[in-house]
Symmetry: C2
Subunit: 207 residues, 2 copies
Amino acid sequence: MTVVSAKKRDARERILSLAEQSVLEKGFAATSIEELIAGAGITKSGFFYHFRDKTVLARVLLERYIEREGALFDDLFRRADELNEDPLHGFLVGLRMLAEMLSDLPTGHPGCLIASYCYQERLFDQQVRDLNRDAVLAWRARFRERLEQISMRYAPHPGVDLDDLADMLSAVVDGGIIQAKVLKEPKLLSRQVLLYREVVRMTFQPR
Amino acid sequence: MTVVSAKKRDARERILSLAEQSVLEKGFAATSIEELIAGAGITKSGFFYHFRDKTVLARVLLERYIEREGALFDDLFRRADELNEDPLHGFLVGLRMLAEMLSDLPTGHPGCLIASYCYQERLFDQQVRDLNRDAVLAWRARFRERLEQISMRYAPHPGVDLDDLADMLSAVVDGGIIQAKVLKEPKLLSRQVLLYREVVRMTFQPR
DNA sequence: TGTACATCAGTGAACGCGCGTTCACTGATGTAC
DNA sequence: TGTACATCAGTGAACGCGCGTTCACTGATGTAC
């Protein structure tokens, strides 16, 4: 009940959040258990009480990330849909809300764990790689379904494949995160999302 | 002159190419000098003859990558321009050539070193981070210049900013590489480039 | 209500291994005169 | 053409440090009867 005992209760959660930040900034291999326990205020054995070994940390970290970000997106686009009955307008509103949410992050987006793991894939076992794969497929399915709804009312521009257009949103976000981080221009990411929004508008614009 | 002496002469080059591959698959921290010298067939001291320490390897690796990829793109789009006097058609042809080049890579694109370094930025010193930054800005300038040429003949779709459209190509490539790697769908990357090409067409299409 | 036992969330000390780095040295090739 | 010296591309052995992991143990809290 006291602050101390409340702190004690979620040492595991503190480790996870410290680990996520460190992995996004230095990579998984360079994220040492030593630094995590120093930050979380427990001993090394305490770490191994919560995670059998470092590979378990990698898996839990990714599962947590996928679930959190998935819920965030689903929630955001559900809210956008409630404001609109037209699927195109709903998607456009959702994209605008996404851009606003991203531009509200004061220090910019901290990074995508899927991208980070992708560039260190040989550090991870098959289970983690499959997790990553399924996450990317889930993003595709998410947006693909919306685009399909839209295409039932508005004819898409010929030559634009809906699967590709669905993938493009994830690609633009992942690529935008990288550019924004490297250039230290946080706004770049939300600008890319707004440009993607424009692409969607052009794609379904009557010709 | 013999195979052996020729091999001996470019141990440094062998280290660099082994290192690049390993960094793209495991990250910089997990790429050990030990594995590089085993692959290159020299001793550890041999490595330190060529690179004062590991940070020098990181810098040389990135410089080499930036120069190589820059030359590749410049060459590709110069060839495309020579076939076309219209800047829009030249760019569209260049993008098609890029997509073809990418789809010809049998095992898919090996990865972008800039993206890899970005997700491990705290491992590197300011010099390397600046190198990365300048590289991203160079990509933006490259494409931005082309888009400007095009916009002098064709009015861009309102609401499409040319800087953002320039960044979008890099973003789509970086994001496409990640998705292609994670899904093990090499074709995804060239499909994204072709979709970007379609976006350029839509942007400059007369309305 | 009291006691016995189980579970939770750790502690403390030790382990071996691999890592990046240093240092004195060396054989082959190139250059000056 | 022969000799002296310099440079190039390494070798071999040793270094200490930090890393992930193990193991026996522990105090606080929860549960059964």
